[in-house]
Symmetry: none
Subunit: 417 residues, 2 copies
Amino acid sequence: MKAELIIIGDEILIGQIIDTNSSWICSRLEEIGIQVQQISTIADQEAAIIEALTLASTRSEVILMTGGLGPTKDDVTKKALVKFFNSELVLDETVLKHVESIFEKYNRPMPPDNRTQAEVLAISEVLFNKAGTAPGMWIDSNDNHFVVMPGVPTEMKYLMVHEVLPRLQHTVGRTIRQRINILTAGLGESFLAEKIRPIEDRLPPYIHLAYLPSYGQVRLRLSGMGENEVKIKNELIAFSNEIKHSLKDYFINDTDEPLAVSLVNLMSDRGLTLSTAESCTGGLCSHMITSVPGSSKVFLGGVISYSNDVKINSLGVKQETLNKFGAVSEQTALEMVNGVHKVLYSDYSISITGIAGPGGGSPGKPVGTVWIAVKGLKNTVSRQFSFGPLREENVMKAAKNALIMLFRLVNEENQIK
Amino acid sequence: MKAELIIIGDEILIGQIIDTNSSWICSRLEEIGIQVQQISTIADQEAAIIEALTLASTRSEVILMTGGLGPTKDDVTKKALVKFFNSELVLDETVLKHVESIFEKYNRPMPPDNRTQAEVLAISEVLFNKAGTAPGMWIDSNDNHFVVMPGVPTEMKYLMVHEVLPRLQHTVGRTIRQRINILTAGLGESFLAEKIRPIEDRLPPYIHLAYLPSYGQVRLRLSGMGENEVKIKNELIAFSNEIKHSLKDYFINDTDEPLAVSLVNLMSDRGLTLSTAESCTGGLCSHMITSVPGSSKVFLGGVISYSNDVKINSLGVKQETLNKFGAVSEQTALEMVNGVHKVLYSDYSISITGIAGPGGGSPGKPVGTVWIAVKGLKNTVSRQFSFGPLREENVMKAAKNALIMLFRLVNEENQIK
């Protein structure tokens, strides 16, 4: 079954707010096997709303609309609905009492405009909104199901969970889309594709593989839909095991978690501790780790050695090393990682030193050159990266790649998988 | 001039990622007086792309597309463009060399698929993409301007800033929306509104004031549009001066820069240095500072003292203080800031200690309790904050408020304004 979203809101079109509703709705629909094929974000204008409804109803069975239901004068959704469905607005007494009770609760007089909140389309089934004043509406017309909801995220979510999704699930029946997400790291999209092409070529038409790359990681999304839930599930598991097997060390998890969460859990389960010595990443790598709830069991702390003095005084990097090889070198990265390991007494340590840019580059060491070292229980690994010209991206890639290197070493040294 | 966005990407329609590109693009277009009237988010499917292009070109002069330009087989944007424009793909040698050079840099063989990245539409003007492999394209056809860009945010932004916006600005001509952004910190939106209401009430209808709040800061956006550019500009300056004057100490800048940039420039101009001691923020505050190009002139480094041992061993916090007052206390914050000041020899130092959550709260010190201290050339200030239950938000608010406190102390002690 195919669906579309019509998102009404000038504040999105001028870039004042980021639309997070759509992503949430799409994700919920996808879980019950409804495929969203278009999101149309349009202005609070009658003509635009009618055009969007007309086009969407020719393409999709289910049309979900949000926004433009407030009492202020720029909210014109209901007027457009009246025209589109050739229906009329009627006052719903239950909704009116609810709206009045909300104003009573706050001891405020109800502005007369708010009476219009209780007006619903005559042909609609009212979706009662306990989370706010504007009711939702469900309209069956020809072969389409239309759902109208307010744009306030908490109200939309309330209506979706309590009213809309149960009705849609009933309509769709039991053909649920199933999926497995495989997080990989350390191999670019095209190399990954080459590696798993033999498997991809054997996928049946009802199983789809998508590549979602981001900074050194690629999430592989294997999804399938069909009548026989158990059969699809087993096929997905079999293909995902094949993919995991063919990727070996590049596989991180299939638990829908970000890398940092897998890393913290892995180390926490084994009672391992961590410290960091960051130069060019300036704290980002530590921030990624400490963003995980419970990371205090693993992460002891770190030294941000932005200046050479801090590298020398707080981490014990030798002046001689800095003179001879420079602050961005394998030797400095190794002395940094050994230094923080010694000062903070951790099982594992990371060091990162590089030229983030825009300044500081030279022909031999251009902007984007980064050295990362990871010291573990037995081994120390170090690696040079050559990223690009963009400061923000270099910092992000350096921090993420440090986590990838750490994850691999912890995995290796603690014999998992 | 009216514009539309066509966002191509299955990963958005299944709710896997939130589309932040659209908001960024809308906001940039709005600044140069181009009004976005629709965003159509569609699947990586030829028919859907052609339909979206057809409809958009009847409604809007400018059509910006992102996504579906990668080398994997689910990226079909170029095929759709070939059909829609009845044109063909040609290999661009400059782009090919650029793509090859990127693979050379990483010392990896280029998979043959990546050759297709250098194929561009014959009728297009190539928008060279220094931030990635997929080039952008500019196509003039009938009365429409079409812009095709990759969906990767850094690449899209690079192309927008360096290629697309300058061309659009040229096309739009001189009826530019003018604006002044006034960054304020330390006063909530409604208090701010009360303070400047007398000024706001006198604004003429063609000058608009918007409030854009975010984590302890509020950006006031004063904008105006009209035939007489000089007159509007002068009026905007006059009103913004009035607002700045009435806000006094809550005013940060009117230079469109984030707080961290103003802070780094302020300190850099005066040759002042900075160090940090972060506990609950785990590196985020240092990351915000080091995100500013040139911050290495100011920022010496920091200690992330996540565990009590690091607070004691690396910062000299007394065990007695931790026992008596706890790790989240004014006393600990002060010993941390004095400690890092002593260890790193900086002019200014920040310390942050708090309970980010979800765990670690107690009735006396609930999740969201944070102590921040700032030590300056003469004075030391400390302050308690009580944020909410959400970890991510607490960390963000703590880091931002530390920067606000530091900015004020530097300002005060160095007699500026």
